[in-house]
Symmetry: C2
Subunit: 235 residues, 2 copies
DNA sequence: CAGTATCCGATGCGATACTG
DNA sequence: CAGTATCGCATCGGATACTG
């Protein structure tokens, strides 16, 4: 009805309805999650929502811009933008967090763990990795998921001077720590439904290399934002 | 992919994604808003989402049941149910509240006020009316929206012994207070973006009848759950 | 009243290819 | 790399009618 993306198809003045018009379309909340994590570039956003088509992402970004949630700021290259949250967008953090907290509390982890994806996991881990327990020198950690097909089987996290890089091809540095794990176990640890220790004991994770790095893994592995939220699903 | 309503179409283990699968379909959040306000019966739910088809409401209720958010408990009449939130459903309150709070803060009220609906407004007012400032005897308040077509122009709130009834046809009681208002002004007051006093001064609301009732209107009118949230939209 | 069945149309969205 | 253009299906959801 209204010009701005039909901000009235529910026909209700209730602010819940108005917010739902903006936020409750497919993929939108996940794009916002990525933006709230600090991602600003189109193809970086895509890494966070790999199953979303670029066409649809482009469309959603325009919608969010129209809704006043993000601003597309031009870069040096013409036609290329950085997508930044406006104040209204930044204020969506509690909304997205409430979704995640609820999901962590009430969706069975066995269901979540059906959606394994090494790229997503590594991309998340890169973002949340905590460098404080790590030595100041460059550290290279290699993750190997034996059951995954070759292209996504092996990953390298290169931590250097506080910055973290993720590589899907061998960067050639010496490896400080080898992590060999089932994808499911590593994801479970990341989500906070298991721990490094437990998975090592269950022989699902194997660490080879620097002892200190190995012992502090539960620390430097930052874990998901929602890892501390306890499941409330009755078993 | 999974049997339970394809709880994996985003292909992500992230709890935000899992929650979005359950919650981010059309009308779902508004149905939940109604349930959280205490509504349990099919046709009462419909009053809260009048533009939603009964077929779709039925479908959504089944989905929510499958997701473990509500339970359909049989009533005395066979085939008739009460829809009650489970613990997981009750725990969605912060999610819905965060939507409403954000909407109230960031959606221009001029946009919300394009979606005027006297039935929705009165249905909401009935629910939130605060009986404590009212006398113990029966009180009948008549609302008149002159510009609205006849069927939805006149409404009666009958407050008696702590219970509030809403009638769209004259119940026949003596009227204690007549409220004559533009629908827009009454809605604006309800939403907290104006006040009874202001609208009276602007000659948009006119009160005739019991002086005490008239003076305490801003009190007994409960206002929307989000009325206290201040708009942050730059003017 | 409390829903269900059926139909059908719009459009949301996915797939693919293409451009600067 | 950073998106846009086009196509076409599938499904979502709206309208209407119907049942116990």
């Amino acid at each position: 009805m209204s010009k701005r993306q039909d901000l009235g198809s529910y026909g209700q003045f209730c602010p819940v309805a108005m917010a739902a018009e903006v936020l409750c379309s497919r993929w939108t909340l996940l794009v916002l999650r990525e933006l709230l994590c600090g991602t600003t570039r189109f193809n970086d956003l895509r890494r966070g929502v790999p199953l979303m088509s670029p066409t649809l992402l482009s469309k959603r970004l325009k919608e969010l811009e129209k809704a006043g949630v993000i601003a597309a700021v031009p870069t040096a290259q013409p036609g290329v933008f950085e997508y930044r949250l406006t104040e209204a967008g930044e204020d969506l953090r509690p909304v997205v967090m409430s979704f995640g907290s609820w999901g962590q509390r009430w969706v069975e982890s066995s269901l979540s763990l059906r959606n394994l994806d090494p790229s997503l996991l590594m991309w998340d881990m890169r973002r949340r990795l905590d460098v404080t327990p790590l030595p100041l020198r460059r550290c290279v950690i290699n993750f190997l998921f034996p059951e995954v097909n070759s292209a996504k089987r092996s990953w390298w996290l290169v931590v250097d001077g506080g910055s973290v890089d993720l590589c899907a091809t061998n960067p050639g540095f010496d490896i400080d720590l080898f992590v060999r794990s089932s994808l499911r176990s590593m994801t479970a640890v990341w989500m906070g439904v298991s721990t490094v220790q437990k998975e090592i004991e269950a022989r699902q994770i194997e660490l080879i290399g620097d002892k200190d790095l190995a012992h502090s893994m539960q620390q430097w592995l930052g874990l998901s934002l929602f890892a501390k939220e306890k499941s409330r699903v009755s078993p």
